[in-house]
């Protein structure tokens, strides 16, 4: 079941992988021959989402919100405008919502029906986010899921789970780590890990991993 990330799967389906490889090559050459697809565009698409669009964008948004109370308020009131103003626009991020973690509330984002994820700020979703285990469990036992990420929340903190069923895309604004008053926006951004913006972890503490 843990198909797209299980190591045993790679062994068990080794022969299938090469069959798939051939099948995909045949399909690509057919689509190029028919003129539907520009092969160079495929390379650019891959490079764009491998190297240009990723969670450093989201980290810049979060760091700016931590450093600038006005920006933070804008982000919470109209996340699309506030995020787009930094140049992080486009596919799978047209309609952004930012939810804020506090001492009372912890937010967690999932897409139970497919794999909706805010590409312009976080890039492509990690394998675990797309896995049936996460998609099925995040809504019914979020605290156990968080525990598997090493995050044990006290009962006093309410967990808010956001299921991305529409074209709205959710970004979690994690709590700013303690002892970071004197850090620059750039230094703050280095503390914003991807999982903290999905809600499965906290921001990285000073001197943390």
């Amino acid at each position: 079941m843990a198909h797209d990330h299980s190591h045993d799967h790679d062994h068990a389906e080794g022969s299938e992988l090469s069959d798939i490889d051939l099948r995909v090559r045949a399909l690509e050459s057919l689509l190029v021959e028919k003129g539907y697809v520009d092969p160079e565009a495929l390379d650019v698409l891959i490079d764009t989402y491998e190297t240009k669009i990723g969670p450093r964008n989201g980290a810049a948004v979060v760091a700016k919100a931590w450093a600038d109370p006005k920006y933070k308020q804008w982000l919470l009131d109209d996340a699309s405008a506030a995020i787009h103003s930094l140049g992080f626009t486009g596919r799978q991020g047209e309609h952004m919502i930012v939810v804020e973690n506090t001492e009372q509330t912890h937010n967690l984002v999932v897409c139970t029906l497919c794999s909706c994820y805010p590409w312009p700020v976080l890039g492509l979703p990690p394998t675990w986010y797309k896995s049936p285990a996460y998609r099925s469990r995040a809504v019914i036992e979020p605290r156990k899921v968080l525990g598997e990420f090493g995050l044990e929340l006290p009962e006093s903190v309410a967990v808010h789970v956001h299921d991305s069923t529409a074209e709205t895309r959710y970004l979690v604004l994690p709590m700013r780590p303690k002892g970071t008053d004197n850090l620059s926006e750039e230094q703050l951004a280095a503390l914003v890990n991807r999982n903290a913006m999905i809600g499965t972890e906290q921001a990285t503490p000073i001197g943390g991993a």
């Binding site: 079941m1 843990a2 198909h3 797209d4 990330h5 790679d10 798939i20 490889d21 995909v24 045949a26 399909l27 690509e28 050459s29 057919l30 021959e33 028919k34 539907y36 697809v37 160079e40 565009a41 495929l42 390379d43 650019v44 698409l45 891959i46 764009t48 989402y49 491998e50 626009t89 486009g90 596919r91 047209e94 309609h95 139970t112 029906l113 497919c114 794999s115 312009p120 394998t127 675990w128 896995s131 049936p132 099925s136 469990r137 809504v139 019914i140 979020p142 605290r143 899921v145 598997e148 990420f149 309410a158 967990v159 956001h162 299921d163 991305s164 529409a166 074209e167 709205t168 999982n195």
Partner: protein
């Protein structure tokens, strides 16, 4: 439709494998399937809702035992066959056998970045006044369409509170079938975990689900 994609609350999938060194793609073919899906999608031959339906209407045993990009590959082939961009003989042969169908757009390398950065907004001018306001109590309908829908099974029949109004958005149930965008008001509805999953669950933890007006009473 009630199929293998609607996973909320299912059990038995085991622990979450959170490997921070995990790459975006695990093989070259996964990269190509990702890029092909976006590039052929850019021809404008179908909507995102139709493409979701192509994937989720794969037989549940197949969907649940396939890797992520295998599902994309099967979905893409189905979409292209349905849209008559290719036929089955061509897919089997990997060669063109019939003339190409005219399409709205071809994504060129130069245009990838502008097209991705532009995206395609889904909010629309409203056709009618909204029926619900923030704070209203609403119940998700007990409905089981055979066609594409974005109301997860776990909220059907459950009662929650309107928490936010997102505006008027393309209605996937209609758009996926090629019946037009039929824009509808979209609400974020807040449900209490114990109302959804039973009293042994927290009455403090909340679930927020984005639901279109036709899903609600």
């Amino acid at each position: 439709m009630n199929s293998g994609h609607d996973l909320g609350g299912m059990m038995g999938f085991g622990p979450i494998e959170n490997d921070s060194s995990d790459p975006n793609f695990h093989a070259n073919w996964e990269q190509r399937v990702f890029a092909l899906t976006l590039a052929v999608g850019a021809t404008g031959s179908w909507s995102i809702d139709t493409s979701r339906h192509a994937r989720e209407s794969l037989p549940p045993h197949h969907y649940l035992s396939s890797s992520y990009y295998r599902i994309w590959l099967d979905g893409l082939e189905k979409l292209m066959l349905n849209a008559e961009l290719v036929n089955e003989q061509e897919v089997a042969a990997g060669k063109q056998l019939i003339p190409a169908k005219p399409v709205k757009n071809i994504l060129t390398a130069d245009n990838v970045m502008p097209a991705m950065m532009a995206g395609s907004p889904y909010d629309r001018v409203h056709q009618a006044e909204q029926q619900f306001a923030v704070g209203d109590t609403v119940t998700a309908k007990n409905m089981h369409p055979q066609t594409h829908t974005r109301i997860p099974r776990y909220v059907r029949g459950k009662t929650g509170v309107v928490d936010k109004i997102h505006g008027c958005h393309v209605f996937p149930d209609s758009n996926a079938q090629g019946l037009g965008e039929d824009p509808q008001w979209l609400y974020r509805v807040k449900f209490t975990a114990s109302d959804i999953w039973g009293e042994e669950h927290s009455s403090k933890d909340m679930l927020f689900v984005d639901l279109w007006e036709p899903y609600l009473v």
